[in-house]
């Protein structure tokens, strides 16, 4: 018997609300299939399953808010028979909840399973139920779906954690974009409007390729150690119309063609704003790229999204005086690329080399 648990969809998520099941008992599911829709504080997310199997039992009803790690459903592994004896360990023993506490909790609508017991042997007593009820009445009645407030809270938690835990260092580099723009115009010339490439896709691909040489920018810092990730799953910061932002991943950017990256980017932005992202897109980003060029700023120095270890920021591409390699002065389109990186994992020296590598890739549009 396999257990399908609520995954953590982003490091700032502790719980989610199951909105809908996409499967029912008896269904055969494949790895990567969307099986449920879960509301996190940021968005309704399509949750994928990561193994093949046959759905045995759905344990959670839609509408329930459950902590990350809760078993949502049980599945039979391929080849496993439904009647096979359950291998689940016997329950660790019934929790001690006094009959009076149980009855009282029911009357007050308090979930006794969430209460810590203060009685002998950790038993949940009447007093614990009363305390929980009092606590609850003190807490502000949660607005049914104040998505914006929830998102603000989630961003606040993640960003506070980042600034608390991650010793950031910041580097910036001005990059001439003349060649890139020229190449892009040429490439787009023969394309219909809907098939055109954007500079953003171009930048994402360049970041992915630069990461191949500087893996210490790509991965997670967890449990006091850096865990590099080989593939570049680049989180793209997307601002939401109602405020806030979300940074879902485009997977394996380094392996994809520019066209594929462009298509994925367009799809991702559309779905992020429509609120139908996949759980893996929310949990997988190994680095984040933010681009505030459209808003007209020259440069952006971002805050790393933990447990990632780096964030690349792009400002606007604007004509500026430029001194070329031969010492000639001209006016050229210039982009300021910045790097915010985790000093626990990398040093400024490596960060500088990474930015230089990124600059070099942006000078070779044809190789992207």
């Amino acid at each position: 018997m396999l257990e399908f648990k609520l995954p953590s969809i982003g490091s700032d998520m502790d719980e989610g609300k199951l909105l809908e099941w996409k499967i029912k008992p008896g269904d055969r599911v494949k790895k990567g299939q969307v099986v449920a829709i879960v509301d996190t504080s940021k968005a309704a997310v399509d949750v994928e399953i990561w193994f093949d199997g046959t759905v045995h039992e759905l344990l959670i009803e839609p509408g329930a808010t459950i902590p990350v790690g809760t078993v949502l459903a049980t599945l039979l592994a391929p080849g496993e028979k439904a009647g096979a004896p359950a291998v689940a360990a016997p329950p660790a023993g019934r929790r001690k909840i006094s009959p009076a506490a149980r009855k009282h909790a029911e009357a007050l609508g308090v979930d006794v399973d969430t209460l810590a017991g203060s009685g002998p042997g950790g038993a949940v007593m009447l007093a614990d139920v009363d305390a929980a009820a009092a606590q609850r009445s003190l807490a502000k009645p949660a607005a049914p779906s104040d998505r914006q407030a929830e998102m603000r809270k989630a961003i606040a938690a993640a960003m506070s954690r980042s600034k608390r835990e991650i010793p950031h260092y910041y580097l910036a580099e001005a990059i001439a974009m003349e060649r890139a723009q020229a190449w892009l115009s040429e490439a787009n010339a023969g394309r219909p409007i809907t098939g055109r490439l954007l500079m953003a896709a171009f930048q994402l691909k360049a970041v992915a390729l630069a990461l191949q040489k500087y893996p210490e920018m790509n991965g997670f810092f967890r449990d006091g150690a850096f865990q590099p990730v080989a593939a570049a799953h680049i989180g793209v910061a997307i601002s939401m119309r109602q405020g806030g932002l979300i940074a879902p991943a485009i997977h394996d950017v380094g392996e994809k063609s520019l066209d594929e990256v462009m298509r994925d980017l367009a799809d991702l932005v559309k779905r992020a704003r429509a609120g139908s992202l996949k759980s893996s897109e929310m949990s997988d980003p190994t680095i984040t790229v933010t681009n505030l060029g459209d808003q007209g700023v020259e440069a952006v120095y971002g805050v790393i999204y933990p447990p990632q270890v780096a964030l690349v920021g792009f400002g606007r591409i604007a004509p500026r005086p430029w001194v070329d390699a031969a010492g000639g002065l001209s006016v050229a389109p210039v982009l300021t690329a910045s790097l915010a990186a985790d000093h626990r994992v990398s040093d400024g020296h490596r960060g500088a080399l990474f930015l230089a590598e990124l600059r070099d890739w942006l000078q070779q549009p044809e190789k992207l």
Partner: protein
Amino acid sequence: MKISYREAMRQAMHEALAGDPRVFLMGEDVGRYGGTYAVSKGFIEEFGPERIRDTPLSELGFVGAGIGAALGGMRPIVEVMTVNFSLLALDQIVNTAAVLRHMSGGQFSVPLVVRMATGAGRQLAAQHSHSLENWYAHIPGIRVLAPATIGDARGMLAPALADPDPVIIFEHAQLYNLEGELPDDWQCDIARAAVRREGSQVSVFAYGGCLPKAMQAAAELADAGIDAEVVDLRVLRPLDTETIAASVRKTHRAVVVDEGWKSGSLAAEVIARIVEDCFYDLDAPPVRVCSAEVPIPYARHMEEAALPQPAKIVAAVKEMLDA
């Protein structure tokens, strides 16, 4: 007026003897000796040997004679010196007195009162230290009383004599010297338990010789900030389940103190009823404070260790409250 438990019981018997010519007292040493516990001192001089009758040392014989007298229209008070010796009269009480109404189709009733001392605590060793109230409380057809206060010692005899069926009154030997004010309202029923001390956090149930211990424990608990209610069971058969349940519904916790041994004890019966009636009101598993399951020892320190004591009650309550 301050009087002793012994004096209260003596007054009750005196009143009964003086007020009803059908009443007479019979038992070992009740006449010339004035009673083993001196409850009938002076009675033989006042009421004469016809009504204050010394008997041979045969519980089987004189309890049987008491049943016969009751059947014949008298209102006998039979004093069996202690519960220990009442075992010899079990056949008369259990097999005759308790069942005659039933077996005669209601033609005969046995308005008999049997008084006996009970309990340990006076270094009288195993054979003289039993607390077998529960044996009698098991039997349908008899009523079992355990006066534990001056008022009940004064007030329970009259309704017991008025009862058309056999009534057994257990007087704990350690209570006779208890002194206190005789309350004005000493007249009482023999049906209900009594709340002796109001409290909110735990109900301590006790009867007979354990009641003063429970009251002392409650006082000590109050010093520790724990508000204990003390309920005197008083009537051991039929048990007043209503009063017991009402107290548990209020406090949500029950400690039952019983000088009997835990196995098959009256405390077990009380807890069974609590669980049957108040399961969803309980905030902690009920607890019993009973005698150690050994023949009661002779040595003072060992006897004290074997019996329920205020300290044990306090400890049981504190453990229950995790205090």
